[in-house]
Each structure stands twice: as structure tokens, then as C-alpha cells.
Symmetry: C2
Subunit: 221 residues, 2 copies
DNA sequence: GAGGCCCTCCCCCCGCGGAGGGAGGGGAAA
DNA sequence: TTTCCCCTCCCTCCGCGGGGGGAGGGCCTC
């Protein structure tokens, strides 16, 4: 009997998955969680053999759950709404066996669950292509690794569309310091100006695209 | 009998919604579509009274479906994975009655369907707050349609990380002209500088994120 | 024809952003 | 300890970007 834990903040999705999986022989859904914190607790309490994990969740997200899973973890299948390049790679690095977009046909999900129970992977062709592309693009990522922690912080703020002055205030720095950081960021990334740097930051997922400008003007209201 | 059409590219979601709605009295799911094109056809063929519509879909997305719906449209409930400010406002403008995040409890969805059949709305508190905030803010982002064709071209180049000089060359313009366009773009979008404008352009999909810098530095490396 | 918007280019003004170089304190590794 | 990097801040210099005007021609609409 394969014991499955479903982790997703969307109740409809949980219901749908449970509905599908419960119809399968040899598969039992032992629990559902709407967020990462409860997922970790449920893993300890229920000892599922397979976990279906959503990436995008309020509070603790899927990546963080993967990071915090102990050594005797269940087999993890990441099931997410959209294909974000870096998240795929990050999830795979953190030990996810399969990474499926939610557009996947339900029988592929079942297949992935059975495979995961045996330690196997099911990769959608699109995801596989993403992985390949990402690996090929590796040099660009390594440039981002060259950034110091502080610089990465500054780049994050930069990718949100903030000016040097705003960044200085939000990090409690002098604006000259920010300028220093920005200059070395531009040099290390090999880009010409802050706009290009912001684009790199967004591409690398330092800031999810849809959150980019939100707090830029949300903070003062 | 309320005839419901479900439009979502995620099979799990469709299954979940159908499962939930089919258990309700007086509600009948008359069809499911995985994309916008088929949704429009299904609306004409099946004449549903309520449509549950996902925003994020391959091919024709939810907003486009809303735009193309004829005058005797079904009541539309937008059901989406995440709360993007502009999309909420845009969807409401285009006639969506309710806008629910997929995190919504299933009974709220049922409630929204029944309300929609009567022409009523069900708004999550979070979404309502978003609408209010957006309206108070003077509507910014959704005003991308306010841009002239030329301005949209410039914004596209901007979102690729190009400087005014580069844009001028690529469009065969004087750089003063580009500056004029950039200024009115900033004004119309209500943003402070070119970086923020670029982010808006990327968010609106004028340029796919992973294509943003490609030709910008691809030419010199 | 008059008014409207769009596209094009021009002007002045100036402040932010980015280059380049210098400097001191601190932490980690040799 | 010495060395090296990181973080912090300071300086000068200047060019690009952006604000605020103005202006002419083209096109469409009233």
C-alpha cells in the first residue's frame, strides 16, 4: 500500500487529487495539508511514502519544505502550476523525484506516484527540456553565485524596481554604499545598467515576476 | 438547473471542480475545456449560464476569452491561482462577476456559482481589498492599453534592457524621440523610472522573461 | 476647415546613476 | 600575523535619463 500525503493550498486541487488517487488500487491518501508547516508535521506523524508537493503556497513554500525534510523523507513529487526554470532545478537539487506541471494528465500523476514509491522519476518532456536548457545556461548562474550576500540583497531590491535611495533606506545604508554594491553587481553580471541587472535578477528568480513592483508603492500606503 | 462550463488547463482542477459541483443540487456541469479557444466554442455550443474561467492558460488566456465573449455571455467567475493586481481589475472591467483565488474553500465556489446564476458577485475579502487599493491608486498598470502603438514598441525594447540610444538605432529614430516616448510611457504607467517600466512590460508579457536580455548582450559576446 | 491625437524632433535643466579611486574596520583563512 | 575579501563610506567626474516646455507635419474625425 502506497501511503500518499497531498500538500497544496488549493482545496479544489486537493479534492481532485484525492478523488483520482483514491480510485487507484494500492494507493491510499493518508492526509492533506494546505501549507508547508503542517506538511512537515504530517510527514513526521503519518510517515507517508510519497508526498505530492505544491511549490507556491502561503507561508512556507514547497522549496522550503524540501529543504527542511529530514533524512528519512518520503519520495517527493513536485506538482506545480507553472514552470519556473530555477524552481525546477532547485527542486530537483533538493531531492524531488518528479516535477510535474498541474497541466499533466491525471494518469501521469498516478504513474508518477507509483514510480516514486519505487524511487523512480517521471519527467514531462517539457520539464526535461527545461532541465537541459537550464544546465546549458549554467555559466550565467555561476555569475550570480559570484555575488556576495550583500550584493544579492541589493540585486533583489533592484529587481523590485527600487532606486538607490530607496534601497539605501530599506537596508539602512548610505546611498554611496548602495552605489558601490550596484557597481560591482553590474561588473560581476556583465551588464550595462541597473535595468539589465534587474532583468537578470528576475530571470534568476530572486524575485517572482508578479511580486516585482508590489511593495514598491505598497509600503507607503 | 444552472449549467456550468469549466475552463482550466489543469485536469486535476477540472476534476476537482466537477466532483464538487456535481454533488450540488440544481447545478450541472455541462462541459470542460482546457484552453480558451475551445472555451469560446463551447460557450456557443452549450450555452452555459455560468462559466468558471482560469486566467493562466496556454494559448488564449482568460483575459482574452473575456474580451472575445459575445454580448449574450454566460456569467463569468474567474478562478485563478494567484492574485495579480492588474489582472483582477482587468477581469472585473471585462465583465467578470466574481474573482476567486483557487485557495478559496469549495463551498465558497459553490456559493459563487449560485450567486453568478442570479447575476450576483462573491468577492473574497482579499480580492475586495485589492480592488479598492487598485482603484484608489488611480488604476496604473491596466492602462497598458492607453499606450500608443509606438509607445508599446518602445516599452518592448525597454523591457529587453535596451538604452535609449540602442532603442533609437533599432527603431531608426532620433534619441530625443525615444526620450519623448519613454517620458509618456512612464507617465501613463504611473511608474518612476525605466526599470519599473521594464518590469511592467515583462509582467504584461510584452517580452517573455527568458528572452529579455538575449539579444542585448548576445550581440557583443 | 478646425480640432484632435500621434509621431517626430528640438531646446534647457538637473539630478540620479555609474565609473574610478581611496580608505578604514572586521572576519576568515593562510 | 599577514593577507584577502567583504562591508561600509567618502570623493570627483560626467553622461544618460527624465521633466517641462515647444513645434511642425500627418492623419482622422467632426
Amino acid at each position: 500500500m502506497i501511503k500518499v500525503l497531498i500538500v497544496d493550498d488549493h482545496e479544489v486541487v486537493r479534492q481532485g487529487l484525492r478523488f483520482v488517487l483514491d480510485q487507484e488500487e494500492g494507493i491510499e491518501v493518508v492526509g492533506e495539508c494546505p501549507d508547508g508547516g503542517r506538511a512537515l508535521a504530517a510527514v513526521r506523524a503519518l510517515r507517508p511514502s510519497v508526498m505530492l508537493l505544491d511549490m507556491v503556497m502561503p507561508g512556507m513554500d514547497g522549496l522550503e519544505v524540501l529543504r527542511r525534510l529530514g533524512p528519512d523523507r518520503p519520495a517527493v513529487i513536485v506538482l506545480t502550476s507553472f514552470q519556473e526554470d530555477e524552481r525546477v532545478v532547485a527542486a530537483v537539487r533538493l531531492g524531488a523525484l518528479s516535477y510535474l506541471p498541474k497541466t499533466t494528465a491525471v494518469d501521469r500523476v498516478v504513474e508518477a506516484v507509483r514510480a516514486a514509491a519505487r524511487g523512480g522519476s517521471v519527467l514531462e518532456p517539457g520539464i526535461a527540456a527545461l532541465l537541459v536548457r537550464q544546465v546549458r545556461r549554467g555559466e550565467r548562474r555561476s555569475r550570480l553565485d559570484a555575488l556576495t550576500p550583500r550584493e544579492r540583497e541589493v540585486l533583489t531590491a533592484l529587481a523590485k524596481g527600487r532606486s538607490n535611495g530607496e534601497i539605501a533606506r530599506s537596508l539602512s545604508l548610505g546611498k554611496e554604499t548602495v552605489k558601490t554594491h550596484v557597481s560591482s553587481i553590474l561588473a560581476k553580471l556583465g551588464v550595462a545598467d541597473r535595468t539589465q541587472a534587474a532583468i537578470v535578477g528576475l530571470q534568476q528568480g530572486l524575485v517572482p515576476l508578479d511580486e516585482a513592483l508590489l511593495e514598491a508603492d505598497g509600503s507607503q500606503e
